[in-house]
Each structure stands twice: as C-alpha cells, then as structure tokens.
C-alpha cells in the first residue's frame, strides 16, 4: 500500500506522519510536494498538520489553491481515501472538499493537550475498523479548531452520519468541559458525503506509539489499510507497483 503525504510550504507534521507510516506501520509512504499537480500513484492521501503558507489570510486558505489540490480533488472524486489532520483538515475545508468552517478556539489561544474522542461513524475508510461509541485518546495542538457549520448544514451532517468524531470525556459523554475549543456540537472530525474524505483536528500520528502515551491513532491508519486490502484485488496492487 502506498501513502502519499502532501507537503505544503509550512507543513510541520509531514515528517511525523511519514515516520509513523514507514517505521511503525511498515508502509511505503512518499512526500508529495504541493507545487506538483499529481498524487503520484498513491493509494491513500494524508494532508498533515502545520501552518501551510503560514496560515496567512486564513488557516488553509492559500494552501487550498496550491497545484496539488486539483489532483487531490480528482483523487477524492474517484473515491480515494483522503485524511486531513489539523491544518490538513483546515485545508480540506477551505478547498470545499469538506463542509463547514473553522473558527479560532473559544479561548482565543493555541491549545496543546490530550483529549478524548468518541467515534460517531464507522462508515469511513479510516474508521471502519472502529466501533461507533468507541472512545479514543489523542493529542490536539491548534489555535483555530472550533468547528462551525450553519444550523441546516449541521443538521444534515448529523442525519447523513458525516460527523466522524466528537470531543468527549473519558467515559464518552459530551460534557461541557470536554470540548477543548468550543466546536459546534463537540465536532472533532467530519467526512465527505461519500465518506472517503475525512478531516479531524486531533493528531492520530502523535498517538501511534505506546512510548508517546497512546496507540489509538494507529487504529485509523490500520483501518484504512484493511479497507484498501479489502477493496482492491492484490494483483491490481502488484501491477501498479
């Protein structure tokens, strides 16, 4: 399986994702420079965290117009799995590949801490291996992570099971204190209508090794691997290598 990790100028979690994919999961993973309009034969795309183009104008706004985004759009339209993490989520929102928008954290400050997430949808390639209602533990680190959507959209996302994760407490309850940034309805991650594009503010790549405190993030990568293994005949993969 081939992962492509998009590198924008200012991405700063690209190397972390590559480390987890290569050294922890033993997968092939390539950097995809955002200046090139190609996904170079990747089976899964990761848009990593960071401050693409300095997050000038608005988080993700400039990056959403980078040449690679047309290739990402085409890849997503073909049903390819795309995961945007933190800044990558912001880029997907700005690019219109995911619905809604990000506001500054309710505290108006950057917040780096560990949070609990409740899996709301096991429909996506990245959560198929998880149980709905399962509670995961992962770090967050962002200043603009307060998810917002107009009421009608928010309702639709709920009905279409496109809310993938919500911030919760250790028992999976949506308590007021368990919403680190003031996101609407505790939303921490959403998906596209067909489910193959997922964006999330927490960092699964920082929660993929026991030494760093949690291995829950690895479940997402393992989930997409299982998904791909199940949907693509092996000979197809061999041929494409």
């Amino acid at each position: 399986m081939r992962f492509g990790v998009v590198v924008f100028p200012g991405s700063n979690c690209d190397r972390d994702c590559l480390h987890v994919l290569r050294s922890v999961l033993g997968q092939d993973a390539d950097e995809l420079w955002s200046g090139e309009a190609s996904t170079s034969g990747a089976d899964v795309l990761i848009l990593p965290g960071g401050f693409a183009y300095g997050d000038y104008l608005r988080a993700g706004a400039v990056a959403a117009t980078a040449p690679i985004m047309s290739a990402v759009r085409a890849f997503a339209a073909r049903g390819g799995p795309v995961l945007g993490i933190c800044n990558g989520f912001q880029v997907l929102l700005e690019a219109g590949l995911l619905p809604g928008a990000m506001l500054r954290n309710r505290s108006l400050r950057f917040c780096c801490t560990t949070v609990f997430l409740r899996v709301e949808s096991a429909r996506t390639p990245f959560t198929r291996g998880l149980r709905e209602g399962q509670v995961l533990r992962m770090p967050i680190a962002h200043g603009e992570g307060s998810y917002y959507a107009p009421a009608a959209l928010a309702e639709r996302l709920g009905q279409e099971e496109r809310v993938v994760f919500r911030y919760c407490d250790a028992q999976g309850r949506l308590r007021e204190g368990a919403n680190p940034n003031g996101s609407l309805h505790h939303i921490a991650g959403v998906s596209s209508a067909s489910g193959n594009v997922v964006g999330m503010m927490p960092h699964p790549e920082r929660a993929s090794e026991a030494l760093l405190g949690s291995t829950d993030g690895r479940l997402l990568f393992e989930s997409v691997l299982a998904y791909l293994a199940g949907t693509r005949p092996d000979n197809d993969l061999v041929a494409r290598r």
Binding site: P9, A141, L212
Partner: protein, 741 residues
C-alpha cells in the same frame, strides 16, 4: 586595558574605543565604519565586560565535539549522532514589544542551532516577570508567552520545558531566555569558518528591511521609561513561516554539499555574520551591497549592513555549487543571491555602486577589546543573611499558599499554549517530570533529557551559592529522568556591568557555575550574557540561568513526578538537611527574601545523583521528584496532584516543623516505589552511601503530612500538620489559570 567609560558618541563608542579603532585601522574610521564598530563592539555582540570572566568556565568534556566559539555547542550522543545546544536572551526587545521580542528570540536561537547543521528538535524558555497582580506585568507576560507560542508552534519545534519565576525587581525588565536543542549527524556538523579564496558568499532567506537596526546596541543599554514608545524600531519582526522554510531549505542545502560555512544573520546582521565568519577563517571578504535583496528602496549602506531583519543566513559556498543551491532556496520561496567572494587578503571590503565604502580587518570588528571592570561586594549583601522569623504555625494554610504562589503553581496554562508534542519525540512533556525527555528515534532506545534552572532570589542573597544551586538543580532534574549530563549552556542576566556591585555579583555567579560544573564534570558548551537589565526601578537581581542536556540510555526507563497508585512506599532521599534560608516559604509566607542559601556539597550531590539515576534506570521507582521551592511538602503535594493519588507521610525533623515541611536544600528527593522494591532502594542507598528514609505511603484522596518532632518518630496518634483533600490542593496549584487563561 581599556577602562570602563562614562560617555559614548552617537555610534555608541567611547573615546578610548575610538582610539583603539584608529590604532587597529591605522587611520580614522569613516562615519559608516564607526557605526559598524558601534554595533560590533556593543556589549551584546562584543562581550566586552564579560569575556575575561567567562574564560574561567570549564569547556571540555568527553562528549564534546564543539565547544564555545561557534554558534552553538555540540555533544556526541553515540551511534554517529550529536546534539547542538545553546541558550540566548531576548530581554530588551521583549520589554518593548512582548510578542515580537519573544518570537524573534525563539527564531534567533533556532537559527543558531540550524547554523550547526542541526535540525531543531526542542525549545525551553526561562521567563522572569514582575508580580502578576500588576496589570502591566500580566499584559507583558501574556504577550511574551503568545510570542513564543506564535513562533515555536508555527516552525514546528516543540516547546518542552522551562520555568517562570516572579520578583518585583523584574517589573520593568522581564527576562526571556530561550534554549534550543538540535540533532545532527556527527560527521555533518556545519561551522561558520569562512575559507577558500575562490569561494562565494551567498545571502539566503528573507529580504533585508529597516527593522531591528541597531538592535544589538539597544540591547546593551538600560531601559528608560520611554523605551516602549521610542525603541520600537529597534525590535525585529519575526515571520515564523519564513523561518520554517529557512530550516528546511538550509538543511537541504547543507546535505547537498557545496556549503563551506554558514551563520545566521542575527544581532548586528550582515556585518556580524561577515566579519565573524571571515575572522574565524583567517580570511577576508568582498561584499557588494547592491546585490543584497532589499525589502524597500532607498536604504542607506549603514541600514543594510546593520539591519537585524529576521530569517536570513549567510553561506560561504563553492562556486560550482551556486546554481544548485540557489535552486533549493528558490523552491522554498526564499531569496538566494551571491553577494560577494572570500578573499585571501584579511580585509572585509564592502562596495556600493563600484566604490569601496568599508575596508576593515575582520578581526578588528569581530574581536572587541575586553574590559576589566571594577568589582565590589555590595554593601547590602551580608545584611540579608540574618533570618529571624517564627514558625508560621498553620502548615496547611502555608502549603496552600505556596502551591498557589506564582513560582510554584502549575505552569500548565502556559505550556498548553505551546505545541509540545510535534515531531513525535516527547516522552515526558512539560510538568510531567523534573526534566523533559525526548526520544531519539534515530538511535532507539536512547533519548535526551533537558531542563533549566536559575533563581534570582537565591542569587540576590548569594550569587556564588545561588549559581551553584542552579547547576545542582539541573543535574538533579536530569538524574530524575535517568540521564547522564552531557553539557550546560547558560544565559547570564545582570544589570549594568559598569556598576561595581553588579559586576561583583556577575563574577561570583560565573565562579559558582564554573566550580559546580567542574565538580560535576560537565562542560559549559556555550551561552550568552545579557547586561544592562535595568529599569528606572533599578537593576534586576543577579539571574544566571542554566540549561542542561543529558543522555537517557533507555527512554522506556525514565522518571515522572506523578504518584502511580495506592499503597506505594514513599521515600525521602536526603543528601542535605532542609533549611528555610532563602526559601520560597520565607518569601511567600513571611514576605521576606532573607537568609544565606545553603551551599551544595558536590561530593554528596554526585553520590545522591548516581543513586537516583540508578533507581530510575533500574525501574525501581514509580515516581521521582526533586525537592525544590517549598521543600518536601510541596514536592509530595505535586506528586499527589499529578497522580490524583493522596499520601500520608511523617517527615523527619530536628526541630521546627516549618523547616522539616518547607525547608529547602540541594540533593533532596521524594520517590515512590512498590512495596517489594523498597529493599532494592535501600541497597542502592547503601551502595552510594546516601541517607534515605521511608516516610509514608501513597493512597486515599487527601494529603496528610506531619513533622516527627524533635524527639524522633511520631506515633500514629499524633495530629497531622497538614490534612487537606486533594481537590483543595489541586485548586490552589492551578492559580495561574486566571493570569494566562
């Protein structure tokens, strides 16, 4: 030797310095040259008042690959890898423009590490503020923290530690010291020595603007009451996005070969980088000012040469590599322009529009003349050493007050604003241990541990002992992480060296660091001096800050402060008796900074550290915490709060209860261990000839402490001196959320 001057001209030079320049040049300097000497011979760049004193610091050790004299020290960590380490101050800019001053402090130290060819992997900040009751102080403090966060988070270098202390004497002059650690292959260390008279000088990074002009000179003066209004243009403006691009592009350029030497354009900008690189290599340089990429038109030569615009580096490269290197920087959206050549003749020549406007020997600029300032023990020093206070009595109230005091209280509201987990290396993050621990995934299972310490209150009472205590505390924190020290970097923050009493405290503090590092056999691999930290209210207390890095052999065997469960035995390791002299208890409860701080017996300290290290490495302890501000009582409370587990302990006492509970001293630790590990602990204590005593057990949801009383062990019937529910302690400990939330 030139004597300390009284008056300076517009360039910041004294009459004596002017004569020295004329002697070195063999002629009078031009007006432009005078300005360049002004910044290069400023205290900030030239270390005029400090360099003779700094020679006493030990700078050699078995792991040392690069000592002082480069942009950062470098230490071998084995397996073909090394770490670069350096700390710098950005006090004055932060006083005037808290956000940008602190942000550019982070950017500057990151580029010093980058100049060694190392990828920056961690930041630590040591901050000192006035009292938080003061609204202006709160504004300053929140601005500085936001600036550190704004830059560090964006460039993707985790901020994993540091400390914050307060004292009214920092009100008008905060301290912002930032340390950075980088990782580099031992055979790929970059240096700043220019060489090869056909080689080219390449300017890379952001364009040059009018910001930060004369910043180095500004950093070398006292702040006056109009500083905030008048000195804004002396403060650089940082752009962390460009800083991040510069990191990636520079590392890529260094890996491609063709780069002979590299240095950050920091203080005194192009002038400093060019003259220092040429002086270190014993060569000259010819620079064409017309080729320098500018942000605005009409800049004068002195502005271009002295600008401290951020995110710029100067490279010396092989001519055939020019095209390839320029392409790398352009791909990252950065300027890369050849602006000159290295020359065999030892002269720095700057031309503009075909005319030579500067011709000076590089060493003449780069090697400012040293001073031997007058030093005199302050008249007030010894008068502070008498302490006569009664036991405050209510120990429970005292413990809550100590936990809520800004020096002790949790810094989580600050650390939460820093990304401390990016780069997936952080094994023990801020507040979880006495030192931060990062894994080095290039060398599993190895890691590095990092910490900072430095206490102006103690150094104001006795700068020699205070400095020794800072080194001892850093080494103690590393022992708690199971780490063996590799090296020290320091930031020496003082008032005006032209005051004999201030200079005396500086010399004492340096002697303290030197003696302590010698006793522990740790080299001082580099550092920084910041003088003239004065406001209209007077000088800051002597504030030497020490940062230490150590090697962790196995990151799965490291120490954290939190109690881990019920029923563990709690052990006090005592290498020195507790004393309230100079303590946080005196400051917070009795409102007095008095007493002579205890001295460190380094013979004992080394034995205790060896024992602590062995217990951590052997996996014998479930928690470990060194006793610092607030003594054993605060250390136990912190372990209980961090773990969410209560404790009952009876502390040995030779007299006063407050001394036993809140007294401080070096070489004191509290550990917790599973019942069946107690024997192993005792054996280690015996082996290292260290005194340890089992004082109690973890468990429950209250913290119950008592001093045994002068006659020995207390019976179970004795009342507790402290008996508080964990949530009360927790609330007190999180008092700073109101300041920083």
């Amino acid at each position: 030797m030139i004597q300390t001057p009284a008056t300076r001209d517009a360039a910041g030079l004294t009459r004596d310095e002017h004569e020295e320049i004329t002697r070195r040049l063999g002629r009078d300097p031009s007006a432009l040259e005078r300005l360049l000497f002004g910044v290069m011979w400023s205290e900030h760049c030239g270390y005029k008042h400090s360099k003779l004193t700094l020679r006493s610091l030990p700078s050699d050790g078995p792991h040392l690959l690069q000592g002082p004299g480069e942009n950062a020290g470098v230490m071998d960590i084995g397996g073909g890898w090394a770490v670069a380490f350096k700390m710098e101050s950005h006090n004055h800019p932060s006083a005037v423009d808290p956000y940008n001053g602190a942000a550019t402090g982070v950017g500057g130290i990151i580029r010093d590490i980058l100049s060694m060819g190392a990828r920056p992997i961690a930041l630590l900040d040591s901050l000192r503020f006035g009292p938080f009751e003061d609204r202006a102080v709160r504004r300053l403090a929140t601005g500085i923290v936001a600036g550190i966060a704004g830059y560090g988070n964006c460039v993707g270098v985790p901020t994993v530690g540091g400390e914050i202390l307060t004292d009214p004497r920092y009100r008008g002059n905060p301290i912002v010291n930032v340390a950075c650690l980088g990782l580099v292959r031992a055979d790929r260390i970059a240096r700043s020595r220019a060489s090869g008279d056909t080689n080219l000088v390449m300017y890379v990074g952001a364009r040059t603007g009018r910001d930060g002009i004369g910043g180095a000179a500004f950093a070398s003066e006292e702040l006056d009451e109009h500083a905030e209004r008048d000195d804004r243009s002396s403060v650089q403006i940082g752009d962390p996005f460009t800083g991040k691009l510069l990191i990636e592009a520079t590392l890529e350029a260094l890996a491609s070969g063709g780069v002979v030497a590299v240095q950050d354009m920091g203080a005194a900008g192009l002038t400093c980088a060019a003259s220092e690189m040429a002086a270190r290599g014993g060569v000259g340089m010819r620079l064409d000012l017309d080729a320098v990429p500018l942000r605005e038109s009409g800049m004068r030569p002195d502005e271009i040469l002295r600008s401290e615009s951020q995110e710029r580096m100067l490279l010396v490269i092989r001519p055939q590599a020019a095209g390839g290197l320029a392409a790398i920087f352009r791909r990252w959206g950065l300027a890369a322009v050849v602006i000159g050549t290295v020359t065999a003749e030892r002269a720095l020549v700057v031309e503009q529009q075909g005319r030579d406007v500067v011709t000076v020997p590089p060493y003449a600029l780069a090697d400012a003349p040293p001073y031997r300032p007058a030093a005199e023990e302050p008249a007030w020093l010894r008068a502070q050493w008498t302490v006569t206070v009664p036991d405050a009595g209510d120990a429970a109230r005292a413990l809550l007050a100590l936990l809520a005091s800004p020096d002790v209280a949790s810094k989580q509201p600050v650390f939460q604003q820093y990304d401390h987990s990016v780069q997936v290396r952080t094994v023990v993050g801020p507040g979880a241990g006495d030192a931060a621990v990062l894994r080095v995934q290039e060398l599993p299972p190895k890691g590095v541990a990092l910490t900072t310490a430095g206490n102006g209150r103690l150094c104001g009472l006795d700068p020699y002992r205070g400095a020794r205590l800072a080194v001892a505390e850093c080494a103690a924190a590393l022992a708690c992480a199971g780490a063996e020290p590799l090296g020290v970097t320091d930031c020496l923050n003082f008032g005006s060296p032209e005051r004999p009493d201030v200079f005396w405290t500086f010399r004492q503090a340096v002697a303290g660091i030197a003696d302590a590092c010698r006793a522990l056999r740790i080299p001082v691999v580099g550092g920084n001096v910041s003088f003239y930290n004065e406001s209209p209210e007077g000088p800051i207390p002597p504030t030497p800050i020490v940062a230490m890095v150590g090697l962790v052999e196995d990151v799965t065997r490291t120490g954290r402060i939190a109690f881990r469960g019920e029923g563990d035995v709690v052990v006090l390791v005592e290498g020195a008796p507790p004393a309230i002299d100079g303590s946080a208890y005196l400051q917070v409860i009795h409102g007095t900074a008095a007493g002579r701080p205890p001295d460190v017996d380094f013979q004992v300290h080394r034995r205790v550290l060896a024992m602590i290290r062995d217990t951590v490495r052997g996996g014998l302890v479930r928690s470990v915490h060194d006793c610092s501000d607030g003594g054993v009582a605060v250390a136990l409370a912190e372990s209980a709060i961090a773990g969410g587990v209560g404790v009952e302990a009876t502390l040995p006492s030779a007299g006063r209860r407050d001394v036993a509970l809140f007294g401080e001293g070096p070489s004191r630790f509290v550990l917790s261990a599973a019942e069946d590990a107690a024997g192993g602990l005792r054996a280690l204590a015996e082996e290292h000839q260290v005194s340890m005593v089992v004082v109690g057990r973890t468990g429950g949801d209250r913290v119950r402490l008592r001093a045994s009383g002068p006659t020995g062990a207390a019976s179970d019937g004795c009342p507790w001196d402290v008996d508080l529910p964990l949530y009360d302690l927790h609330d007190a400990y999180h008092a700073l959320s109101e300041v920083f939330a």
